[in-house]
């Protein structure tokens, strides 16, 4: 808090060192809640004298992390999860964006499907697991189906919303400039809907990642969900928590390194699009 209020006052005097310290403090701010949580966790472990059967110490989790990482076990499970979310994202975008487009440009179809898509959005991917397991067994196909479903619905929905939010006059003005159908798609609808598509992608990847972990826990064909659920069998709390932390960290990395930069790029440039 003090860092942010002090910054403007110090800035004019501004040596590079001050700026560097300030930005380092800014970075620390993000880590503060994590440090606090770890401290509370450790305090509870010591004060309540909990056995390792109930809760392990952060140090034990660190050791488990080192062990899992050094034997390549963690990389194995994590890469399975990442591969699944990657494949699902590509398929969902390739199929979902054109569907969202087709629905968005057709007013009747958009009206007809809006309620249906909202209905589907309320049925989480996990709710489809029983059916998917009956149809596809305990296989990676089941996991893929669940994750793609979770991803594709928000992508279709947001693409549709994005296309519909484009002012009608954009297309009319372009038709007066002699634009044909293909031109309207490439010059109006696609760039106009892009920020909304990215929002859909971001939401979808969030839902998809959660659904993926849940599906892996039931399907047990690899992945971080499989890792933590398997560890439960032998009460390996250190492994469970290690896996959970990895699930969170990987998602932040995916979001911050891939999805958010795309969003920032489109929104910052086109300003007007999101009011």
């Amino acid at each position: 808090m003090t860092a942010s209020t002090a910054a403007p006052a110090l800035a004019p005097r501004g040596s590079g060192l001050v700026a560097a310290v300030m930005s380092a403090l800014g970075g620390l701010k993000i880590l503060l809640p994590f440090a606090l949580l770890t401290a509370i966790w450790w305090a509870i472990k010591i004060e309540a004298q909990l056995s390792d059967q109930i809760l392990v110490s952060p140090a034990a989790v660190w050791n488990a992390f080192i062990q899992l990482a050094s034997h390549g076990v963690l990389a194995e499970y994590a890469s399975t999860s990442l591969r699944m979310i990657g494949i699902s994202t590509v398929i969902s975008m390739a199929v979902g964006v054109p569907i969202g487009f087709a629905v968005g440009v057709n007013r009747t179809a958009a009206h007809a499907l809006e309620g249906f898509l909202r209905f589907l959005q309320s049925i989480s991917g996990i709710a489809w697991l029983p059916l998917a397991i009956i149809w596809f067994g305990f296989s990676q196909t089941t996991t893929l189906v669940i994750v793609i479903y979770s991803l594709i619905v928000p992508i279709i929905f947001n693409t549709m919303v994005g296309v519909r939010a484009i002012p009608e006059n954009y297309a009319l003005a372009l038709r007066s400039l002699g634009a044909g159908r293909l031109r309207l798609v490439t010059d109006v609808y696609l760039p106009g809907a892009l920020p909304s598509i990215v929002v859909g992608l971001r939401l979808g990847m969030g839902y998809g990642w959660r659904a993926l972990i849940a599906a892996e826990m039931l399907v047990r064909q690899g992945g971080l969900g499989d890792l933590i659920f398997g560890a439960r069998t032998f009460n390996q709390i250190d492994r469970i928590i290690t896996g959970m932390i990895c699930i969170g960290c990987l998602y932040i990395i995916i979001d911050r390194l891939i999805v958010q930069p795309i969003e920032n790029l489109t929104v910052a440039r086109w300003g007007l699009l999101r009011k």
Binding site: N169, G178, R183, G271
Partner: protein
């Protein structure tokens, strides 16, 4: 001025036009019966109370809607859809926010497949004409309202249509900027030969810009009066001399009375569902 005989230099001919919109409650009348002729190179302004059907008429000339009754022709050919020969400038900024000023203005030429060198040349000329120099690489959200409207006008002129349709293009900008934009438009029209059909609800704007002013009745709108505005010279118009010109002020007063008579009568006859 009363009805003229059909002549060869008629650019746009609206005959027996009447339009109804389909709604869930059945058809809703948008306009009365309209007959209008616009000569090539003429600047015609249309004033009328809001909701009288001005925009519907403009959209029909643009080809965005098919007339329920009557026909509209451009160069003797019936209008069946939008086309490059009829440019439109909208009140709501219809320039694309993801394109820079330069790429917005050159968009029509890009669509027409004009070579880049020639396109750049045209864009440069229009940027100079509309006072946008220095803003070529800005995005619309970085511009003021007046600047954006200049981009919209320049984009339409760059595509070089014969006819330009303008639907209250300056209604959304502040009053001072509007005066400047109107003077610039008059100058631009003098520098190029375009047939312009310009919708407004400002009497002064209609008389200042128009070679001829059409006054529309309240909904369902019909043409109530057609008033010629004599110009001593094309272009070079400015608001100071317009305000000082007794003849112009006389015309403006005449138009104002015609429009006010409609305003007074409006309201009761217009259903809430009628389009604006």
């Amino acid at each position: 001025m009363s009805a003229r005989a059909i002549s060869a230099d008629d650019k746009i001919v609206v005959s027996g036009f009447r339009h109804f919109f389909d709604t869930a409650d059945g058809p809703v009348q948008a306009t009365g019966t309209l007959d209008i002729r616009i000569r090539a190179g003429e600047f015609v302004t249309l004033v009328g109370p809001s909701g009288c059907g001005k925009t519907t008429l403009l959209k029909a000339i643009a080809g965005f809607i098919r007339p329920t009754e009557g026909t509209i022709t451009c160069d003797g050919k019936v209008i069946r859809g939008p086309g490059r020969d009829r440019g439109v400038v909208f009140q709501e900024l219809a320039i694309l926010p993801w394109r820079t000023v330069r790429r917005n203005i050159g968009h029509g030429l890009e669509i027409a497949g004009v070579a880049k060198a020639q396109r750049d040349e045209t864009v440069r000329r229009l940027i100079a004409l509309t006072g946008l120099a220095g803003f070529e690489d800005r995005y619309p959200h970085e511009l003021s309202g007046g600047m954006k409207q200049r981009v919209a006008v320049a984009r339409t002129w760059a595509a070089d249509p014969d006819v330009i349709l303008m639907d209250e293009p300056f209604a959304a900008v502040d009053a001072m900027t509007r005066l400047t934009l109107q003077e610039e438009l008059a100058r631009l029209c003098a520098a190029t030969t375009k047939t312009v059909f310009f919708i407004t609800h400002s009497v002064d704007e209609a008389v200042f810009l128009g070679d001829r002013v059409l006054v529309m009745t309240r909904w369902p709108g019909e043409i109530k009066a057609r008033i010629d505005v004599p110009r001593r010279e094309r272009g070079g118009r400015d608001w100071e001399s317009f305000v000082a010109d007794a003849e112009m002020q006389g015309i403006a007063e005449q138009v104002l009375r015609l429009v006010r008579a409609e305003r007074g009568a409006a309201g009761a006859a217009k259903p809430s569902g009628a389009p604006t």
